[in-house]
């Protein structure tokens, strides 16, 4: 009975979303206050029912209700509670439900924190988000219902993919989805602006904190995913350029461009149409990403055929949402006001260059990701576009970005002189070069990649801090939050660059055969294998290799990598042993048993320098975004301005820039 309640909740949420997408929107058009006043209660109701559906599925997992097909497919009696809770979003159907819940949550947040927006505008935003929700609810109900039943149910379920049975995996998808779905807010703001007939600085200022928050979640989600891949996949890599990763990276790149172009449009009124287009693109790419991954389209072109119904629905939905948005853009964008002019050397230009690079990078990743699809379509030979393509293109595109980042904040709006921008940075550049070479030398990382990495990373960090000095000059109070956030983010990229350069240039890796009692020496570390033991977990058994690590005569740690076999699925998983450190990670993964009598195993040992810096830098980025979003400027100014604004829905085509 309970799963049917979930089904009913979803249907009710669909009804409310449909109402929300139509009635208040009509009200906003006709300037009918009573119709618009329906929006808040509809948003709340929509959220409540989405939450209900989600909770019902969660309860089904907790209670091992295997009559629900989705539960039977993704859980079993042996699965620990925390993984049963995260298994709710472990498969296609449930992750759609999580999407819906988060979208409903963002809508609720917009409702609560945007009280000061003009009513008609806020109503349009919520209606547009309601339209998005209709698509997802229909998709879920028609093609991917998590509440489908099998009666009688099987006595036990299958297993949640063991790869996903990991603490990192509990938080990774929700964070990622928060980011994906969060771009729906920026999308809603942009479309509402287009619908209203005027796209001005207002909507951009209002949507900035939302975009920043969504972007931060996405950053954190990707970071967590990378960290998870590092220790869970047993390969020692932190980024694989596979379609799943790319699907999250494309929206991130466009989102990065978007937060910067929003800054220009808000402050100077420049490139408003471009900003709208980016807002549409960021969300569309999130849609494309979620669907490509979840529908299995990209794993193989053939997978498309396995479920043509789902594939078709995806295409239809995307066509309506993105196609509709782009059509609206084509109709309304010519009316968008033009910004003030600016000189070639100015902050506008700096941000334009930023946007160019990020947009091109996103296009490049998209092309590489869809390439198998394209080549198949064109009937070309099966060519896989692998990491070499992505790495080469990316280094090419991101090197100028790294070089230019410190210049951006230094530049002034409208017009500036190159000399004035560069002058305070000369010292940073010199120090970065000297220190970069010195550090590489002292670490013995004497390769072009390590040296340029250190110089680039330090240049970013020092350059950013020399901006702090300039900005603080003649200022009695500290820096505003949005600047602190920017500084954190830019310095974070520096930390990230150093990490990437060191990992890719100086990782040590050895595949060795070891028996109990033998020792492996590497980089001054001694890894001694004591024994191969059998250990049992709640739903797996494993061979565990017990190592003690020495440096000189000093005993440092014990490390115990495992080879696990999961009872239910029989899947074998490598559980790596990791010793993280600020300057290097020790990493042991078990390969295969080579000889059962002597208990010899093939073992892979890595020493990875500075790998933590990759995630530390990325987390700084995410944190920076959140700090920026929390700037009172976005919230306070909004209130004072909103008070001055007449809360009417009358659209003024071709509205002018407010002074």
């Amino acid at each position: 009975m309970i799963p049917e309640l979930g089904q009913i909740s979803l249907i009710l949420a669909l009804v409310l979303a449909t109402l929300l997408a139509t009635v208040p929107l009509y009200g906003a058009w006709k300037n009918d206050g009573r119709l618009m006043a329906m929006a808040p209660s509809l948003v709340i109701g929509h959220f409540v029912f989405a939450l209900m559906a989600y909770l019902v599925l969660t309860v089904a997992f907790i209670n091992h209700d295997f009559t629900v097909t989705y539960v039977a497919m993704n859980s079993n009696l042996l699965l620990p509670l925390e993984y049963r809770l995260s298994a709710v979003w472990g498969g296609h159907e449930g992750s759609l439900l999580l999407w819906i819940l988060m979208l409903a949550g963002w809508m609720l947040a917009v409702l609560m924190f945007s009280r000061a927006l003009p009513t008609a505008y806020r109503t349009r935003v919520l209606s547009v988000m309601g339209m998005v929700s209709i698509g997802f609810l229909l998709f879920t109900l028609l093609t991917s219902n998590p509440f489908d039943r099998v009666l009688p149910g099987p006595p036990d379920g299958q297993d949640l993919n063991p790869l996903l049975q990991d603490p990192g995996m509990i938080f990774h998808p929700p964070l990622l989805y928060m980011g994906y779905v969060g771009f729906a807010v920026a999308f809603g703001f942009a479309i509402a602006g287009l619908l209203g007939g005027k796209v001005e600085r207002d909507w951009v200022r209002w949507s900035r904190p939302w975009t920043l928050t969504a972007w931060s979640f996405l950053t954190a989600g990707i970071t967590l995913g990378s960290w998870w891949a590092y220790y869970e996949l047993g390969w020692g890599g932190w980024w694989f350029w596979d379609p799943v990763e790319n699907a999250s990276f494309i929206p991130w790149l466009i989102g990065t461009a978007l937060i910067h172009s929003q800054a220009v449009t808000e402050k100077r009124g420049a490139f408003p149409a471009w900003t709208v287009l980016l807002a549409i693109a960021a969300f569309s790419m999130s849609l494309l990403g979620t669907f490509l991954v979840r529908s299995g389209v990209l794993t193989s072109v053939h997978a498309f055929a396995n479920d043509p119904e789902r594939g078709l629905f995806i295409l239809a939905f995307m066509t309506v949402i993105t196609g509709g948005a782009l059509l609206l853009y084509a109709l309304r964008a010519p009316r968008i006001m033009a910004g003030d002019g600016f000189d070639f050397v100015s902050r506008e230009t700096a941000l334009m260059i930023n946007n160019m690079f990020f947009a091109v990078s996103a296009g490049m990743v998209l092309l590489g990701t869809l390439y198998p699809l394209v080549s198949d379509f064109m009937g070309w030979a099966q060519v896989s576009v692998g990491p070499p393509y992505f790495s080469a293109m990316f280094i090419l595109l991101m090197t100028p970005v790294v070089m230019l980042i410190p210049l951006g904040p230094m530049s002034r709006w409208k017009q500036d002189g190159l000399g004035r921008i560069l002058k305070p940075l000369v010292i940073s550049a010199a120090v970065a070069i000297v220190a970069g070479v010195a550090i590489s030398a002292s670490l013995g990382a004497w390769s072009a990649r390590a040296i340029t990495g250190w110089i680039g990373g330090l240049w970013l960090i020092f350059g950013t801090f020399s901006y702090v000095r300039t900005a603080l000059r003649g200022r009695r109070r500290g820096l505003p939050r949005h600047q602190i956030g920017m500084i954190m983010a830019h310095a974070g990229i520096g930390v990230f660059v150093i990490g990437v350069a060191m990992v890719s240039s100086s990782t040590l890796q050895r595949d060795v055969r070891v028996e109990p009692g033998q020792t492996v020496e590497m980089e001054g570390y001694r890894f001694e294998l004591h024994e191969i033991a059998s250990v049992k977990g709640s739903n797996w058994i494993a061979d565990e290799a017990r190592f003690t690590v020495y440096r000189g005569d000093e005993e440092l740690y014990t490390m115990a990598p495992q080879k696990r076999r999961y009872h239910r699925s029989g899947q074998v998983m490598t559980q790596v042993a990791l010793r993280p450190g600020i300057f290097r990670d020790l990493y042991i993964a078990m390969g295969e048993e080579l000889d059962s009598t002597t208990q010899a195993w093939s073992v892979r040992i890595h020493i990875k320098p500075f790998i933590r810096w990759i995630w530390a830098g990325a987390l700084l980025l995410a944190l920076g975004g959140l700090v920026s979003a929390s700037d009172r400027r976005y919230w306070r100014e909004r209130r004072s301005e909103a008070r001055g604004e007449v809360p009417s829905g009358t659209a003024t085509p071709g509205g002018k820039v407010p002074a």
């Binding site: 990209l298 794993t299 193989s300 396995n306 295409l315 084509a330 699809l373 379509f377 899947q571 490598t574």
Partner: protein, 180 residues
């Protein structure tokens, strides 16, 4: 105005491509048919762990067997892997991994990482035999009966539905073998 339509145009081109992908995917299933009920094309190929350990298609005569085409570069093979592992355990007949257009080191690393699901391995790095077999793209799974006749072919990754279907067919082939 025209300029503003460019993004829409690009987007629609993308959609058309995806729709066409859906259509041709249906056609592609038909590619499988000419080989069904024909003898499996003769091949003798080196092994994966040891290139000297050659296996021929005739080695498996007398019992039904499965030929599973994969490559470490093939993303979808990772997706179907849990089901291939189950096939290996539950089918009770040889499951031959046909490593296609791969590099030996990549393939071995892949096995380290995801586990070896197959009971025997052959490699076809140049993809010559794969052409005879009519391999369209990895992953592909052939069911071959005890007389060496291809009885069924599945293109694309194995999921739960496909797995159930394959198991049914395998059981039928096994009883057919016992009856003959």
């Amino acid at each position: 105005m025209i300029r503003m339509l460019v993004p829409l145009g690009i987007f629609l081109a993308l959609v058309i491509m995806l729709v066409a992908g859906l259509d041709t995917a249906e056609e592609r299933k038909l590619v499988a048919s000419p080989l069904i009920d024909k003898p499996v094309p003769e091949f003798t190929l080196p092994g994966l762990f040891d290139s000297n350990a050659e296996r021929s298609s005739s080695d498996f005569l007398g019992q039904p067997w499965i030929l599973n085409v994969w490559g470490s570069w093939c993303w979808a093979c990772r997706v179907e892997h849990p089901f291939v592992e189950r096939l290996g355990r539950e089918a009770g007949i040889p499951l031959v991994g046909f490593n296609w257009k791969d590099e030996r080191t990549d393939a071995l690393e892949w096995l380290d990482r995801y586990g070896d699901a197959w009971t025997a391995h052959v490699v076809d790095f140049e993809g010559r035999s794969a052409i005879d077999l009519g391999v369209y793209g990895a992953p592909e799974t052939f069911l071959i009966d005890h007389r060496g006749i291809i009885r069924h072919k599945h293109i694309g990754p194995i999921d739960q539905t496909v797995f159930d279907d394959l198991m049914r067919r395998i059981m039928a082939l096994r009883s057919e073998t016992e009856a003959s």
